[in-house]
Every structure is written in structure tokens, then in C-alpha cells.
């Protein structure tokens, strides 16, 4: 099976990409065949991602499944260099799960379904790529590949929101998301070029993150260089992670997107940003990271509290989830900013856990919206009587989100808090208050939408389709599994975090 180890990461990137190309050959407006094809492709990546996760040997740690393909030789030196570590392994798994879920749930896409799945698979390939590569050029390549399809995915298949006094159109959401994210990638690109230039001055120009990491751990990058380049990555990647005050694209974008895309975007794409801060920022620029972390943790705390307070004042279900994502990504950012083993492990676990729970929430809201054609919680009520399964699954995700013990969110947030208590005590107290606010908006949402008297106008609603139920059940099972027995994930993440924090 060593052959498998060598090729699994490559397959994870190439299968969805070739799948996207092959999907172009399907008829334009016949949804069934191309949907089936996308299920096949995403099932393959699902299985591959599970295998990659299981076969990652946490006893050994470090980079595994290393494979290098030469791409451009001298004088630029770029190679497609792949490798998996303890931090990327769970995230690969997350993408495998959510991609399959998103494809399954996108059965409802009828209009120009072929184009939809082409773009969705391309997006999936980009995400796998970012998690798997060890070369800054390709990291950026896949990062942009993951962002590129979003404009069309939201603009064509999304939905606009009417606020009464004004209309948030899907075109607005799509353009805002695209420009802000690419704006973030401008900073990343400049940062990458700065790193390359620096390595060239040191005599060996390279984009290879392993080599750059060695230079960093030998302290070859000067303090002043690190402290002006790190913020480029911190903000550039932070934008995708929903970092306050650059988060405003995220609720608008998530709400405007169609269900499957919201799942992928809030569930996986935002994690690319946090992952980038760890993989590029913290690993390659350790001294810069140390210098800037006090600011980052403050911003992360603001994320938590601001996102939660914003979520309270929303009435659109998707906006509540959108802002709750901003709030929860705040825990991730705080966890990273602690540079503490427990905090960072919690951050990565929170990425995984939040990915699953948000995807689940968006899936269930999508299912409700499909039937009720409205997402306003002042209008919806008593849904548990009409759409029992969807309501139940949503409630589980909501409880995970507010940190109920026994579900995955609790473990992750608890670890983040432990990390923050060790490092920045006052902020930890504020963050705990933020968690309490989470309970307010989640319970408010659950009470208003799912419980209470059912309005007669909702009598016609039918429960979710079998496919939606299956996806929901699997996601709920994962939330419970991780909540009850987090060890399989935590021991892998731990080994990755240890090597990241080796220099500190």
C-alpha cells in the first residue's frame, strides 16, 4: 500500500479537477446525470480523504505521504510538493465529508446544473490542494482556485434577501465576496513574493515551504523582515477566516449562496484562511507571529463577541448562521493566537467541529427554505411539528454551536479557553461571555422557529427528503462522535501542533 500513500494526495486534487472537466461533457440542462456523476466523484474523494486520515501515522508525526513533482526548474524553482501533517489531515477529512454532503444536497439545483457541478468540483479540488501542498506557489494557486468559482456559484444560483427597506442582491453578495477575498489574496501574494525574495538573498531562491521552514527555524529571516511580512499573511488569510473587521463579506456571501455552496463555504473555505495563518504565518515567520499575536487575539475576541451580538439582532435564519460563523471563527483565531499547544489544538479541532455543524445548519435551513420559501424567524414557527427531522438536526447543530457538553463544539471551545486562560486571562473572560451570548441567539432561534404554536400556513410543509435526512444524520453522528470520543482527532492534531510550535 506504499504506492497508495504516495499518490493519495495527488488523487485528492486531481480527481475532482478532472471530474469538473469531464462534467462539462454532460447535457446542459439535464440535472440527474451530472448530479449522479458529481456524487460518484465526491464519493471517491470522500473515501480517499478518510483513508488519508486513517493512514496518517500519528505515532510518527511530521509530514507524511510526501511526493514531489517537478514543475518549473531554474531559475524560479517551483515544484508541486505534497505532504500531510497532523493539522491538515483532519481538514482534508472535513473537506471530503462536506464536499460529498454539499453535492448530495444540491439535488435541488435544476437550472444549468452542469455548470454548477463543474464549478463546485473545481472548488473542492482547490480546497484539497491548499491543505495538501508544501509549496507557496501551489498553495496560492489552489487558494485562488477555491475562490474563483464562488462568484458564479453565488451570482447565478444564489438568492437575494429582502430586508423590507432595502434588498441585498445575490449579485452584491457575490461581487463583495469575490473582491474582498481576492483583495486578501493580494496581501498574501505580496507576502509570498517577499518571502521568495528573502530566500533568494539568502542564496537559495525557493517557494518550497519545507525549505523555507528550515530557514525560519534556523533564524535566517531577520526580526524586522518577519514583523512587516507577517501582518500581510495575518490579514490576507484572516480575511478568508472572517477576521474582524474584514468579515463583512462573509454573512452577505453565505446568505446569498445556494445551500450546497454555503455549506462548503462556511464549512470549509473559511478554514483555509485559519489554516493559512498557521501554515504560512506561524511556521515560516515565528518571530513575526510572536510580535503580532497580541493584536490577533484581541481581534479574535472582538470576532467572538461582535459576531454573537450581530447574530442576536438578525431575523433571517441564514444571517444568524452567517454571523455565528464569524463568532465561531473568532475562537479559531483566538486559539491560534495563543501559540499554546492546547489552544492551538483547540483551534484546529474547532475548525473541524465548526465545519461540520455549520454545514449541517445550512443544509437544514436550505431544506426549510426549499419548502417554506422564507427564512424569517418572525414568520416561521412551530416547525418541529411539520419538519421534525430537519428541526431536530438543526437543534443538535445549534446545541453543538453553543457548546453543550457531549457535542464536538464543547471540547473544541473548552481547549481554546484553556489556551487563552494560560496566556491572556482577561480576554478569556470576555470570550466566555461571548459563548454565553451564543446561547442567547441559538436558543432564541430554536424557540422562535422550531417550537411554539405552529401557524396553520405551515401545515403544507413536508419533512426533509431522504437524502437530506441521511446527510443530516451522518453530520449529527460526527458531532456526537467527536463530542464523546475526540481522541482520534485530537491525537492527530496534537502531533501536528507540536511540530508547528517547536520553535516557540
Amino acid at each position: 500500500m506504499n504506492g497508495f500513500n504516495e499518490i493519495v494526495l495527488f488523487l485528492l486534487i486531481v480527481v475532482p479537477l478532472l471530474g469538473a472537466v469531464a462534467a462539462m461533457a454532460f447535457p446542459k440542462d439535464n440535472p440527474k446525470p451530472v448530479w449522479g456523476f458529481a456524487i460518484v466523484i465526491s464519493s471517491i474523494t470522500f473515501v480517499l480523504s478518510i483513508l488519508a486520515f486513517i493512514r496518517y501515522d500519528y505515532g510518527v508525526g511530521g509530514l507524511q505521504f510526501i511526493r514531489v513533482f517537478d514543475w518549473i526548474g531554474d531559475p524560479i524553482n517551483i515544484s508541486l510538493s505534497l505532504g500531510l501533517d497532523g493539522i491538515s489531515a483532519p481538514l482534508i477529512l472535513l473537506n471530503g465529508i462536506v464536499l460529498l454532503g454539499a453535492v448530495l444536497i444540491s439535488q435541488t439545483i435544476i437550472h444549468r446544473s452542469r455548470d454548477f457541478f463543474v464549478l463546485l468540483l473545481a472548488l473542492g479540488s482547490g480546497v484539497f490542494g491548499v491543505f495538501a501542498v508544501q509549496d507557496l506557489f501551489f498553495l496560492f494557486f489552489f487558494y485562488e482556485l477555491a475562490v474563483l468559482p464562488m462568484y458564479l456559484l453565488i451570482g447565478v444560483w444564489g438568492s437575494s434577501t429582502d430586508f423590507g427597506t432595502f434588498l441585498r442582491t445575490k449579485e452584491y453578495g457575490a461581487m463583495k465576496l469575490m473582491l474582498v477575498l481576492v483583495g486578501g489574496s493580494v496581501l498574501i501574494w505580496i507576502g509570498i513574493l517577499a518571502l521568495y525574495t528573502q530566500s533568494a538573498q539568502l542564496g537559495s531562491p525557493t517557494f518550497n515551504m519545507i525549505e523555507l521552514g528550515e530557514m525560519a527555524s534556523k533564524g535566517q529571516f531577520s526580526q524586522s523582515f518577519q514583523s512587516w511580512v507577517f501582518p500581510l499573511f495575518m490579514i490576507g488569510f484572516g480575511i478568508l477566516a472572517g477576521l474582524w473587521p474584514f468579515h463583512t463579506w462573509s454573512p452577505d456571501g453565505h446568505v446569498a449562496a445556494p445551500t450546497g455552496v454555503s455549506m462548503l463555504h462556511a464549512g470549509v473555505l473559511m478554514k483555509l484562511g485559519a489554516f493559512g495563518i498557521i501554515r504560512v504565518g506561524v511556521v515560516l515567520l515565528p518571530e513575526g507571529a510572536e510580535a503580532w499575536m497580541p493584536l490577533l487575539i484581541v481581534l479574535g475576541t472582538v470576532n467572538v463577541v461582535y459576531g454573537a451580538i450581530s447574530a442576536i439582532s438578525q431575523n433571517d435564519l441564514k444571517y444568524v448562521i452567517g454571523y455565528s460563523s464569524v463568532s465561531h471563527m473568532g475562537y479559531v483565531i483566538m486559539g491560534i493566537a495563543t501559540l499554546h499547544p492546547v489552544g492551538l489544538t483547540g483551534a484546529v479541532l474547532q475548525m473541524f467541529s465548526h465545519g461540520i455543524m455549520t454545514a449541517l445548519m445550512f443544509a437544514m435551513v436550505g431544506s426549510i427554505y426549499e419548502r417554506a420559501h422564507i427564512r424569517d424567524m418572525n414568520v416561521l414557527n412551530g416547525l418541529i411539528k411539520r419538519m421534525g427531522t430537519a428541526s431536530f438536526f438543526f437543534a443538535i447543530a445549534g446545541l453543538a454551536s453553543l457548546g453543550l457538553p457531549g457535542l464536538s463544539g464543547f471540547i473544541a471551545e473548552f481547549m481554546v479557553f484553556v489556551g487563552v486562560f494560560h496566556t491572556y486571562l482577561p480576554l478569556a473572560i470576555i470570550a466566555v461571555i461571548g459563548a454565553a451570548i451564543t446561547a442567547v441567539y441559538i436558543l432564541r432561534l430554536l424557540a422562535k422557529t422550531f417550537f411554539g404554536e405552529a401557524d396553520p400556513q405551515w401545515e403544507h410543509l413536508t419533512d426533509s427528503s431522504p437524502i437530506e435526512k441521511t446527510v443530516g444524520a451522518v453530520f449529527v453522528a460526527i458531532l456526537i462522535f467527536v463530542g464523546v470520543w475526540p481522541a482520534p482527532l485530537v491525537r492527530v492534531i496534537n502531533i501536528g501542533v507540536d511540530s508547528v510550535l517547536m520553535g516557540f
Binding site: 496560492f140 451570482g155 513574493l193
Partner: protein, 507 residues
């Protein structure tokens, strides 16, 4: 310095091309009106023949002909092949347009061949006057081609502007040449370099002369602040000519600039470093101006004109970081030129085809194209994403390569400006994508009939309902090339490296 006729056989492709161009003009006289489109195929056959001849005869040669006036080397070989391919693609994608809109088809193809000859000589020129004459051969052909829609007032306006600006810039260029000659007494690039580096203090008029040469070339390249003619000319010129202006003539002028700098200026040493900053500033201005003004455009051709000014800025940034003995910047610029040419071929191929069907070229006219003509819409969208520098397309790779070179040569700020202007460009490219994919089409606009080209179409009044086979093949080939360059550019980069070596060795 051996005899003038030694190795003259290496110029066979040029002689053949000149002969065939005249032949095309001649055949035109004897063909009946309804068989004129044969000429297009003859022209394609000529270009293919010349291409085959070039590939058979020239690889491996590194020579100077006519006592050092003309270079036959890997660098000129690369660009000659590029020009021939562009020529074939331009003809293929515009035959339909030409048949429907032009009164004198034969002359058009003849002029096109002559202009390609001009470009081929430009990349070979190693001497100022040869370069000038080659440039004029190209320019004169273009002057006529721009005004080819006789009955269209915009085309005439475009032509007048182009001729006046062109004549002016040629005069500036010539004046610069004469000043350089007046100071150093030589016109060969190599000799200029030797003369400059040999003498301790040089007359300032030499630098004025060189500056004037760049001003003259700057007009041809539509570099800010010499760009004003470009939008009007692009908009007024017939579409195939706009495409040709954007794709081919710029590539040729940049190839000439590369050779002049690498052989004539950079070997002279320190003085080049003082010039670099000027080039860098002009490059930054071009990028920002082109991309910012493009935001406000409503016509596709004008938008492409401003966008091309922006792209010229990126290429100029690569020119600014040229340095002695290194091939990196030459690689970056050549790679960008090829990637840009391929990508633009798709945009213009699709626009020409769209115009054939609807007679329109405003951005708003493209709405709903994804529903009516998915292939055209997908092609344009992919090409625009490529121009904006997004993966997995050529634009991403070439930009990344070029900006890496710029950054690692000590111009990180310039790379930063380039990346930011790339972001600006994404906005207007996305607006077009939005029209095609998100807006709904109003069905009337695609009905075949509504041609309002003010008398441009004298013979055919009905529109096509779908893109021609020629256009589709051009689009598909270019799409494959764009993805290929975006995913695996190594083979092309190897070829470019050999070409750049030739340029560095030649100096």
C-alpha cells in the same frame, strides 16, 4: 563582418512570405467576386508554408546577416513562430467577418501578410534603421487596415487618429535615431553598447536620443502617457484589426524593445540602473491608469483597449528589471507575451463571432450569452479569468512568473502595484461575466436581423445563428493552450529559456 550575401539563404522564409503576399494581391485581381474567400485559405496556406520553412531551416542557427543588421537566432525564431500562429488564428476567426463586411478582401489579406513580414523583421533587427523600416512596414499595413470599413465613420476617425499619432511617433523615433547616430556614429545595437561603455563622459544628447526612441516606441505600445490614441482606434477599427492590434503588433514591438535593450543599452552598464526606475514608474502608471479607466467603459472594444494598456504596464515592469547576463526577466516578459496573446485570441475570437451574429459589441449586449451561446460565454469567461490572473489558466502562471521576477530584482513595490491593479481589473472582468452568466437575455437581441452597422454589411443581411466552425476550432485550440500554459508551462519555458539565452549571448 563578412560579405553581405553570406548565409543569405537563412532569410528564405521572409523572401517567401513577401512573394506570397504579392501573389495574394495578384490572385485577388483574377478571382470572381463570389470566390474571394478562397484568398483567406491561400493566406493561411502561405503562413503555414512559411512556418514549416522556418522550422526546417532556422533552428540551431545563431547568425548575423547583412553584416550584422539582421539576426537569425533562437529569440527571433520563437517570436516568428508566434506571429505566424497569430496570423493563422486571426484569419481563421475573422474570415466570416471579412466576407460579410469588407469590400476588398484580397488586399486585406495581402496587407496582413505584409504586416506579419514587418513583425518578423522587427524581431530580427539588430540595427536602428532596419528596426525602423520593419516597424514602418508593420505600421503602414496597419494604417490601412484600421480604416478598412469604408462606410463606417468611426473606422475612418480611428484611422485618421492612428495615422497622425503614428506619423508623429515615427518622427520622434527617427529624431531619436539621428541624435544617437550623431553622438556615437553607429547604429548597430552592439556598437552602441560598445561606444557607450567605452567613453567616460557622454554627451547628454545621447540620452535624449535614446529617450526619444523610447517615446516613439511608447506611442506604438500605447504606454501611459502616450496611450490616448488606443481606445479610439480600438473602438473604431474593424474587430479583426482591433484583435490584431492588441495581440500581434504589441508583441512585436516588445520583442524589438527587448532586443534593443539587451544588446544595445544594458551591456553599457551602470547607466541602465538609472533608467530602471523611470521604466518602473511608467510601468506603474500604465497599470493603474489602464485598469482604473477600464472600470468606466461600456463598450467591449474600448474596455479591451484600456485593459491592454494595463497589461502593457505589467510587461513594462518586466522590462524595467532586465539585467545584464540574466535571462530571468527576458523569460518573464516573453512568457507573458505568449500567454497574453493566447488569452486575447480567445476573447477576440469570441467577440468577433458574437458580432457576426448580432452586430453589437457593447458590454450590455452580452447579457444572457451563457443561455444563448454557452461555448462563446464559457470561452470569454475563461479568457477574462485568465486576464485577471486566476488559476488554472495561463494568466495566473505568467503573472506569477513575471511578478516573481520583478519582486526578486528588488522591485517588490512595483510587484505590489501590479498585484493591486490586477485586483482592480478583476472587477470589470467580472462585470462582463455577470452580464453573460447572471443577467437574463432579452430574446430580441439574438434574433438574426437586427444588424445596424451603418452600411458595413453590403452583401449579407442575415446574421449567423451560431459560431462558424473556424471560430470554434480557434477557440478550442486556444482554450486548450490557455489551460495547458496554466497547468504545465515547463515545455514552453524551456523553449523561452533557449531564446533568452540567445539574446543574452548576442550582447
Amino acid at each position: 563582418m563578412s560579405g553581405l550575401t553570406e548565409n543569405i539563404y537563412l532569410l528564405t522564409p521572409e523572401f517567401v512570405l513577401a512573394g506570397l503576399a504579392i501573389l495574394v494581391l495578384g490572385i485577388d485581381l483574377f478571382l470572381p467576386e463570389d470566390r474571394k474567400d478562397v484568398i483567406g485559405w491561400i493566406s493561411i496556406a502561405s503562413l503555414v508554408l512559411v512556418g514549416v520553412l522556418t522550422l526546417i531551416m532556422l533552428p540551431g542557427h545563431e547568425e548575423s546577416l547583412y553584416g550584422g543588421l539582421v539576426a537569425v537566432d533562437a529569440f527571433s525564431l520563437l517570436f516568428k513562430i508566434v506571429f505566424l500562429v497569430i496570423g493563422v488564428f486571426i484569419i481563421l476567426s475573422s474570415m466570416e467577418y471579412i466576407k460579410r463586411n469588407f469590400a476588398h478582401q484580397g488586399e486585406f489579406y495581402g496587407l496582413l501578410l505584409f504586416s506579419i513580414l514587418g513583425m518578423n523583421l522587427m524581431v530580427q533587427a539588430r540595427e536602428l534603421l532596419t528596426a525602423y523600416i520593419a516597424l514602418e512596414l508593420l505600421s503602414f499595413s496597419l494604417y490601412i487596415m484600421v480604416t478598412y470599413s469604408l462606410n463606417n465613420r468611426k473606422s475612418n476617425e480611428a484611422g485618421i487618429k492612428y495615422i497622425i499619432v503614428g506619423a508623429f511617433s515615427s518622427a520622434v523615433l527617427l529624431y531619436g535615431l539621428s541624435m544617437v547616430y550623431g553622438v556615437v556614429g553607429v547604429t548597430r545595437f552592439n556598437d552602441i553598447a560598445t561606444a557607450i561603455s567605452g567613453s567616460a563622459d557622454l554627451s547628454p544628447s545621447l540620452w535624449v536620443g535614446v529617450a526619444l526612441i523610447f517615446v516613439g516606441l511608447g506611442f506604438k505600445l500605447s504606454i501611459v502617457p502616450f496611450h490616448m490614441w488606443a481606445p479610439d482606434t480600438y473602438e473604431g477599427a474593424p474587430l479583426p484589426v482591433t484583435a490584431y492590434l492588441a495581440i500581434a503588433s504589441k508583441t512585436a514591438a516588445f520583442a524589438l524593445v527587448l532586443r534593443f535593450l539587451c544588446e544595445g543599452v544594458i551591456p553599457a552598464g551602470d547607466l541602465w540602473h538609472q533608467w530602471q526606475i523611470i521604466f518602473a514608474i511608467i510601468a506603474a502608471l500604465s497599470m493603474l491608469t489602464g485598469n482604473l479607466v477600464a472600470l468606466a467603459q461600456t463598450n467591449m472594444k474600448r474596455l479591451m483597449a484600456y485593459s491592454s494598456i494595463g497589461h502593457v504596464g505589467y510587461i513594462l515592469a518586466g522590462i524595467a528589471v532586465l539585467s545584464a547576463g540574466s535571462t530571468m526577466a527576458i523569460n518573464g516578459v516573453s512568457f507573458y507575451l505568449v500567454g497574453y496573446a493566447v488569452t486575447n485570441m480567445i476573447v477576440f475570437g469570441a467577440i468577433i463571432s458574437f458580432f457576426n451574429m448580432t452586430g453589437k459589441d457593447d458590454i450590455a449586449d452580452f447579457r444572457g450569452l451563457a443561455d444563448t451561446h454557452p461555448l462563446l460565454a464559457a470561452s470569454i469567461a475563461i479568457a477574462l479569468f485568465s486576464l485577471a490572473g486566476l488559476p488554472i489558466f495561463a494568466g495566473f502562471t505568467v503573472k506569477f512568473y513575471l511578478f516573481t521576477v520583478v519582486a526578486s530584482s528588488g522591485f517588490l513595490w512595483l510587484a505590489g502595484v501590479a498585484i493591486i491593479s490586477s485586483l482592480i481589473s478583476l472587477y470589470y472582468y467580472l462585470q462582463i461575466v455577470r452580464q453573460m452568466y447572471i443577467e437574463k437575455s432579452d430574446v430580441e437581441s439574438i434574433e438574426p436581423s437586427a444588424i445596424d452597422t451603418s452600411g458595413e454589411a453590403p452583401t449579407l443581411s442575415t446574421s449567423l445563428v451560431k459560431p462558424s466552425k473556424m471560430t470554434i476550432s480557434v477557440l478550442l485550440i486556444s482554450l486548450i493552450a490557455v489551460v495547458w500554459l496554466g497547468v504545465y508551462p515547463a515545455p514552453l519555458l524551456d523553449v523561452i529559456e533557449i531564446a533568452s539565452q540567445a539574446l543574452v549571448m548576442g550582447s
